[in-house]
Amino acid sequence: MIPLSTLPAWTAFAAALVPLLTAAGCALPLTRGSAVRLAPLAAVPALAAAVAVPDGSIAVPWLASGIEVGLDGTGRAFLSLVAVVWTAAGLYAAGSPIVDRARFFGLFSLAMAGNLALCCTTDPVGFYIFFAMMALSTYGLVVHGGGEAKRRAGRVYIAFVVAGEALLISGLFVIGAAALGVGADSILGPISTALLLVAFGIKMGTVGLHGWLPIAHPVAPTPASAVLSGVMLKAGTLGLIRFLPGGQAETIPFGTIVIAFGLASAFYGAAVGVFQTVPKTVLAYSSVSQLGLITVAIGTGLAVPDLWPAAVTAATVYAVHHGLAKAALFLGTDLAARSTRRTPVLVALSLPALALAGLPLASGAVAKIVLKEATGSAPGAWSAALEALLPIAAVGTTLLMARFLYLVAMGPKADRKSVPGPLAVGAVALLLIGVGATLWIWPAGEVRYAAEKSLQAKYLWAAFWPIGSGIAIASAVWAARATTSRFAGVIPSADVYAPVFAWAHGRLEERERRVATPLPTPATPILAPERPAAAEPAPSEPSLLARAGLLESALLNWPTAISALCVLAVLLLLLAA
């Protein structure tokens, strides 16, 4: 009998795990058809739970190594975002010509379950379980459809995932042990913090750790890219919020480093992104840039422990905003490419694009205000620096978005057969509504306050001028396109990682080729038909055993033997005397 008080937590958790059913359904031949049809809607129960289930969590000691499930404010925000984006992506996928649908929706559901459930767990083990489930099943989504390019991208993706998981679990060990009351007060605490920052930094594409992002996004099927960029990256954010020892003095040394990395990501993403030639790659770099801003918020909270709650709110709000907008953009990319009439799509897409840059009335403006509130109290010179730099980042975002829309508009003509159906259009529409409305109906006080604030003239101007400048610069670049177009693509999509990846791919593929063409003496196939053994070379000189044999025949010789007997007799007589 489950006590009534635990019901909410259970409900939320169970709702989050509903996609596991569709995943299983896709695996079993009998249920495959219906599971594929139901998979897009598998996140709906979770969304309902996010809306309806009250806060509260319970420990479940028997599950895995003992986990804790339930919802709190942050979890609820992330769960809502995740559920909406997955539903949109699912609907879009349902309306897209995807090959091998059973497998796609199976993996899709599995990743969805992981992503939803990690929002509903509040302890390290539970989070790690679902984090891994999400990240690993996504590999299948990235390489879905097969081919050399996808395999390479998948390889990069999985390498980063594995490294991240290893670092993450190492950091979580310390937290787990601390829960048991051991090891927390030592040097392990800061080490654990550092490990978590790096591990989640990989997931969030922080500059330097971002190598997989612009590789994996373009090759994945569009719905997968949408969830990848829209919500899976945010799992990193949620992880940071959950497991960093926020609000404690020990985090202060990390603060400035994190802020620095955040800012670097924000600018680097924009700077590299504008040189890209594939729309989805541009979006990937935009994600690097945008998540850099979230990182800045987290860093501020670390630097000023008192600001941690505010930083959490900022990160959460920004995550929701970016998640919706970026997912819309990804889906829109494909929608535009498949539409015979591209202009309406482009117009629709400029909403989330501009929202990212901070367009008033849209989610971006609200998010940026919350962010600014948090960073306004950053320590020392940081406050002023951020005040100056954040708008410039918005300029960068605008440029990126302009580049993106340009690439979408210039994309190859659509094929008539692949015209998107109502499901696909509806999915994008759902997200657009989200971009427009979510932050306005957000229940938390601060957000409502910021939303109203964004309508004040000061903030309107602050929101507008970077967008305006960005558009102006973009127009100038476009006008001078005879010159500037030469720069398109000068930075490879993997930027600084390009030579590393090329080398690693080369090594691995070379080895594969070597293995695939068996050498004259292949590894012994076990229990396979054997070849006749080579004749042993004749020994050139008598072996030790043969020498022993010669000696033995001397010993066996009668005179020798009896003489030995006599010697022995004399010896024994002497010893006796």
């Binding site: 025949s553 009668w558 003489s563």
Partner: protein
Amino acid sequence: MTQADLYTVAGGVLFTIGLYGLITRPHLLYKVLALNVASGGVFMVFVGVARRVPGPAPDPLPHAMVLTGIVVTVSSTAYALALAKRIFTETGMATLDSADTMEGGEDAAE
């Protein structure tokens, strides 16, 4: 040196001579005879030992043992000779170290 000691020492010498013959003579007949010489030596030692008790009468026990020993030696000599003869008929030689004694095998009992 008493008479008894003389017997004893002579017995030892005989034993050694027998031993020498056993080593140096390859022919089986010689070997068997050499062993007989050696056992004669041993018996002489026994005879000498019988004198160890004080008084005119020797200890009877070693004599009894010598008798037993002679019986044993006679029978074993007979047996050894029979065996040597058989070897001669089979191999045409009467030596031990014929080339193939270490090889070959027991024939399967049929």
